[in-house]
Symmetry: C2
Subunit: 854 residues, 2 copies
């Protein structure tokens, strides 16, 4: 701050050369240091009008490390250095506050003993506890001056007891001691490790920064305050802060005295009777206003500042980038760019993409009281309250009657989709960030807390327990999917607001973006939402999702359980009609933007009826005897469905399914092409999932192409289409060369690719991944943020080998990572053409993609 | 054969230059060809004493492709070219066999129409069927001469009907037509594809080979026969064959006339009254004996030959390497090497490693009659009969009473191990070549047929059905694990014989072998078997297998279901004692050879009690309430256990388990080291499974090493040990560099690596892999033979990156592929140090490793 001409407490720096000398000369100081130190101190003493160690008018100092880069492990600041039994008396006299003086003294002893003498803090905490017990109070601030005075004595005695040396009384000894501690901390283990990890050369050394202490509690011409250069909750360009006359820093936030507003405007808006700084010290207020402008000019961002006024002189104690809400962040970035303080690209770069999530979903009213019962994984953002239900059917039933419900399940399966759709939010006790519940909820924009291991569900009793608390069906819970919190009762929420700033920043972001952003969507609602959020196509239509709804599941099951091709074809004929009409809607909505349709993917297992009722229903609809259905269902059950009969393996063994899907897609495309009002013909990208060998895609491409040729001839229209493949198995990544000779595009399915590369099921990892994070084995859940080292290498290999065979090949990603900013950044570095994510993450992806390109 | 001076029917070759001319000149022939052809024919006519097209004494020809490399798609041979309505009369006269002549004529028309005129064979098959119906017979050979004569007419009529051209009657036209077909087939699609895949240049072209037909049925100075230069069933160096006077080739094997032996010795050994060739045509027999020696001298192998004697002249029609039994192959290889005909290395190279399997296991008596009910996968070799049982307990019970049983299960789990052990063989209806049943059965040397989808098991009824046949518990089945056959009733078997030849070839193989061969074993029996078979250490001790037996499973479950570390430690204390005593036995048996011990690996899931009884048993033994056990068991259940909480993930979350196992290993090693009689101290290699990140092995190495240090101090003895890791996930292969900085050795777990690289569960793949093979998508089940392209690349990457960080690092393989010859060959090419396989495959691996190194 001194460098930009702001008033800071006087001080000086002991340079890094001293540090170098210290280490190259057996931890001793250069001989001239002592003299230079005295000279520097004299200047500070003159500026402040006090003398270091003077029993009547003592200068007190703060000493801290002045390393070029701040780094953990370096010595903390020591405040109030220079206090001893004599000088404390002067402080009492000057501040008129005996309690304040002894509290400062006590803190100084504790701080010095801790950071300079390396005595464990617990010693002092115990003594403090004992003092409070004796006084019969529970808060530090309820201790009296005499208690604190006694504590100083006790602290010093404990230092001697533990370390065998006296606490230094001489201020000079204190200063040299603190200086040695700073230099010493340069070579401690933590600092060394940090430097190694961050490539900071050891030779840099550290400096020691010495500054005069200033006090805001030395009379009515003193004050202390905190401020934000703009409003941190809504971002409006107002000076926003509080102060107290004759007070020290902590008093402002301690809540004992009511702080006063800085400005008249602020005072009035709060309806406060207390005079503002603008009124009581107008000159100093003006000085602050100038400083505010200078700070924003210099740091190009909203600042959170601390200041002290000592006897009419303003000192800036601290400035740092201010924390703010998502709304404020957006407002400030847009405003500053429009004010010309920063460029548009800086505005775009400054917004954390994750922040947008808060803007797109309802959040808990920040003022509401919350009782957090337990925590799960923040699986889908937003807050929701509702009565607890345990089955999808119950959720649907109650929702139809206008009730808001939270669907609670151990885990969800495709059969629960209608329940997730009916619910305000979803809570599961098992599964990770990419479990079924999480993926579906994100897709629908429903808040979801997943894998809340602390919740035990008892379906039979229709209740859940958290610790000793039991919650029955019909009672109310609130979940917060951005944090993972689960709370009792209904907590008011604030709806999402998407103002013009949002649109502005999106437009600016798009100027810098290279990669396209698409969405994963299969319902018309999702597709529309995606388009509204700016999606440039659909990157993933999970066709199987279309088969779970209503009666469709029966036809689907009929198809799967059929014992021969004839039975399958009969069921497929029913499914064709439905699939085609779904596809017509999607092509219409996307209006010429590409739509990537994935062929049937999930393990057949997921469609198998598990209950007698469901099996009876299939038996009835297909005319196949129940016994045979039961037997076939048992045959189809798999030990590891994720590694089973799924993906293109289904199309290989049931080519008629592939043919039906291709026909549905192409017939829909033909219909839309013939009736399109915009004149923009649909673009169908048919995508084959879970390919492991080039032979698979070779075989299926023939079926798909033959169907395309037939449908075009039948409908008399030419259809724009491409046939590509997902790369979601390590083998496919390695074989990307041969596969690219057949596939016209690649789309990375990074969920499956992560599963297979790690040998880790996203449904089961929840039970131990948290411990893996806690033990530092993984930094991030690899299902949330792409594992760049492992999975990422396979992506790189596939891009390189694929494009070597098919230059300029279109390659995207449609796994959950397509909406994760750091993963998006990786996608940019390896040259992908697009990312595809849940509709609600499209804005985030647009922003992240822009930042990645910059 | 002509090249080595053997008598072959006269003939000539139209060279490849003609082929080249044909294609470069719009499919026309060089003008001089016609003249040259006439000259060549004249020479043949002179040699044979017949004239091409002569109605009284016609020369008949065979025409076939003479490509440098044989390739599919090239034209088949056309026999008896030159026959027409006139020449067939001469053939009747000369052979005195009207039926033979018209059968030859009919076949010629069919063959020519098929391969030269491209008319589908089905036309002729239909006509033939109709002829048999009319005659009221079901076999071709029951048709009379007149039927065949009529068929020739009908065939020709059909040719005209379908193609609109007459069948060529002029022998010259026939010859030019056949020649054109040979050249034409050079450019057909199948041949082109084959050449592309096998790098055969198109410019080579093909030749046309024309040879005179000879006949053994033209009088009593004619004969035809087949022979093996050595006995194909036992390998003894005797001339072994049969012939018939005045007969054509097919008659010898048709079983209508009884063939005669070639030699007097042969005749006597068969107790035949019919005179031998040695007796009826002693000169020609001597000529054959000389030819036999020449052939073996030239081909360096036992030959299977066909010959024809036409009017006192011997013609060799065909010679090829003779098929033989495993015993014969071994005998012949050893004999030939000892006779000096081939070198030892050739003897070693010549034996297919898989053949040894037949020598190591009982086989079905080749003479016994069999009724094959269905087929499954040949999962573990050998034949076994026994009464059918459906539970492991029943198997054990009956086996204790001396009954031989076949255990039939839908699939097996670790809880069935005692049943597999008690059974003669295992039959499962689900699962592939590396399913649990397959792996365990191979390890124990029990025959196993796995994944027999045609068998439906009904546990409740204690019966199985195959088609409409129901077999109840107690009825008898026979299984053949080398072929996958399932047969009704008891079929006699022949026990394995391991003669001196086996030992000889193993010794010779070891001279050439570079890689070491170890075995996967955890029981003392397996370890002893492995050592007897020449294993040079144990490459994989699956410690969890030790926890399934008897009461151990209860302690194991107690450990898993414990809700805290204290509970776990109590259970672990029990397990420690057992594990240590097991390890003592293994170290003793291996007597200084390295023993690689893998830490607990399988999904906890596998240990979880599924029945109320089992849960009650754990509750009782651990003192934990049943309700809690039930809840914990349900918590631990996983959707995809193969991708779940298993491998080193268990050790990371339950470090005390890792510690117990390390302690058991080191305490056992210490005990054996202190008491070893041989003075060879044990070598313990502790192996961490399913590592995905270097952090995992880093963390666990500390625990293992600390335990080693403690145990050595406690026991006062130094232990030889290494700590390494399995590479069985794609991520581990990619991260082999960092991992090698911690791990001291690698062992590839190619079962898991194949599962994860392909995203394919070996338990579930059985339902569609057969179709994948049938459709040509995979050539081999990747769980049986290492996928060199995909999984193999990861192996290469890991070897290269691992040794770059730790030069000379020891790297082996312990997946099921360690016993598969082509996989072993791959391991040699990428420089592995050892392969480890089931004990019963150790000889196979020794041989395969030797061949790979040669
Ligand atoms: Mg996928
Ligand atoms: Mg494994």
């Amino acid at each position: 701050m001194a460098a930009i001409g702001l008033p800071v407490p006087p001080g000086f720096t002991v340079t890094t050369e001293v540090c170098t000398h210290y280490y190259t000369n057996g931890q001793s100081y250069p001989t001239e240091l002592s003299v230079q130190l005295k000279q520097a101190l004299a200047i500070v003493e003159a500026q402040v009008g006090k003398k270091f160690g003077d029993p009547d008018n003592p200068l007190l100092l703060s000493v801290r490390s002045g390393a070029r880069a701040s780094m953990p492990g370096m010595m903390d600041t020591v405040l109030n250095l220079g206090l001893n039994d004599q000088t404390v008396q002067a402080l009492i006299k000057q501040s008129g506050d005996r309690r304040f003086a002894f509290d400062s003294y006590r803190r100084f002893v504790q701080m010095y003993a801790d950071v300079v003498m390396c005595l464990d803090l617990s010693h002092f905490e115990k003594l403090l506890e004992r003092a409070k017990e004796r006084r019969g109070v529970s808060l530090d601030c309820d201790l009296l001056a005499e208690d604190l005075e006694a504590l100083v004595v006790a602290y010093k005695a404990r230092v001697y007891e533990e370390l065998g040396v006296r606490f230094p009384e001489d201020p000079q000894d204190q200063l040299w001691g603190a200086m040695g501690a700073v230099f010493g901390s340069w070579m401690n283990q933590r600092a060394k490790t940090y430097r190694r990890l961050h490539d900071i050369p050891e030779s840099w050394g550290t400096a020691v920064s010495v500054q005069a202490m200033v006090f805001g509690n030395m009379g009515s011409d003193c004050a202390t305050g905190v401020a934000f250069t703009r409003n941190p909750s809504n971002g409006i360009n107002d000076f926003y802060g509080e102060f107290l006359v004759n007070a020290q820093g902590e008093d402002v936030v301690a809540g004992i005295r009511t702080p006063q507003d800085l400005s008249i405007v602020g005072r009035k808006s709060h309806g406060s009777e207390l005079p503002s700084l603008e009124e009581v010290m107008p000159n100093l207020f003006q000085e602050l206003m100038v400083i505010r402008a200078k700070l924003e000019e210099h740091f190009k961002d909203m600042q959170d500042i601390e200041f002290t006024i000592q006897r009419g002189t303003l000192y800036m104690l601290q400035t740092r980038t201010g924390k703010r809400t998502a709304h404020a962040a957006l407002q400030i970035a847009v405003d500053m760019a429009q004010e010309g303080l920063i460029s548009r690209s800086e505005a775009v770069m400054r917004l954390k993409p994750e922040l947008l999530d808060q803007l797109l979903h309802p959040i808990l009213d920040p003022k509401a009281e919350k009782k957090i019962l337990t925590k799960g994984l923040p699986a889908s953002p937003g807050a929701a309250s509702g009565t607890v239900v345990f089955t999808a059917d119950e959720a649907e039933l109650r929702a139809k009657n206008g009730e808001k419900v939270i669907l609670v399940r151990i885990e969800t399966s495709p059969e629960d989709i209608h329940g997730i759709h009916s619910a305000q939010g979803v809570l599961t006790t098992r599964g990770g960030m990419t479990s079924h519940a999480a993926v579906v909820a994100r897709g629908m924009g429903r808040p979801c807390v997943a894998g809340a291991g602390g919740v035990h569900v008892d379906y039979a009793a229709a209740s859940l327990t958290i610790g000793s608390l039991t919650i029955k069906q019909g009672e109310v819970l609130t979940i917060e999917g951005t944090t993972g919190d689960v709370m009792l009762g209904e907590i008011p929420t604030v709806p999402a607001k998407l103002g013009g700033n949002f649109a502005t920043i999106m437009l600016w972001a798009d100027e810098f973006r290279r990669m396209q952003v698409r969405a994963n969507a299969e319902t018309p609602e999702d597709a529309q939402a995606a388009k509204d959020f700016g999606a440039e196509g659909i990157g993933l239509v999970r066709t199987e999702h279309m088969f779970f709804e209503g009666d469709r599941i029966v036809a689907m099951r009929e198809m799967i359980l059929a014992s021969d091709e004839t039975g399958r074809r009969a069921a497929l004929a029913k499914l064709l009609v439905m699939q085609r009409s779904d596809m017509v809607k999607l092509f219409r909505i996307m209006d010429g933007l590409p739509v990537t349709v994935r062929l049937l993917d999930p393990p057949l297992h997921e469609f198998i009826p598990h209950t007698e009722t469901a099996m009876a229903s299939v038996a009835k609809s297909s005319g196949v005897p129940l016994e045979r259905i039961r037997r076939r269902a048992s045959e189809l059950r798999e030990t590891n469905p994720m590694l089973g009969h799924r993906g293109c393996r289904l199309a290989v063994t049931f080519p008629e399914v592939c043919e039906m899907q291709a026909r549905a897609i192409f017939e829909a495309a033909a219909e839309v092409a013939l009736t399109s009002e915009s004149g923009r013909p649909p673009v169908a990208e048919v995508m084959v999932p879970l390919v492991a060998t080039v032979q698979e895609i070779e075989l299926l491409k023939v079926i798909i192409e033959d169907t395309a040729v037939k449908v075009q001839a039948e409908q008399g229209v030419s259809i724009k289409y491409h046939i590509g493949t997902m790369i979601e198995l390590p083998r496919a990544a390695l074989q990307a060369g041969p596969i690219a000779s057949v596939a016209e595009f690649f789309s990375f399915g990074t969920n499956d690719l992560t599963q297979s590369t790690w040998g880790l099921s996203r449904d089961d990892a929840g039970s131990f991944l948290p411990e893996y994070k806690a033990k530092g084995i993984v930094e991030q859940d690899p299902f949330v943020s792409l594992d760049q080292e492992g999975v990422g290498e396979l992506l790189k290999i596939a891009v390189q080998r694929g494009r070597a065979v098919r230059p300029g090949m279109k390659i995207g990603i449609c796994g959950e990572h397509g909406g994760d900013p750091s993963s998006i950044n990786f996608c940019e570095t390896i040259g992908l053409d697009y990312v595809s994510c849940s509709p609600f993450r499209v804005p985030i992806a647009r922003l992240a993609a822009a930042q990645a390109a910059m």
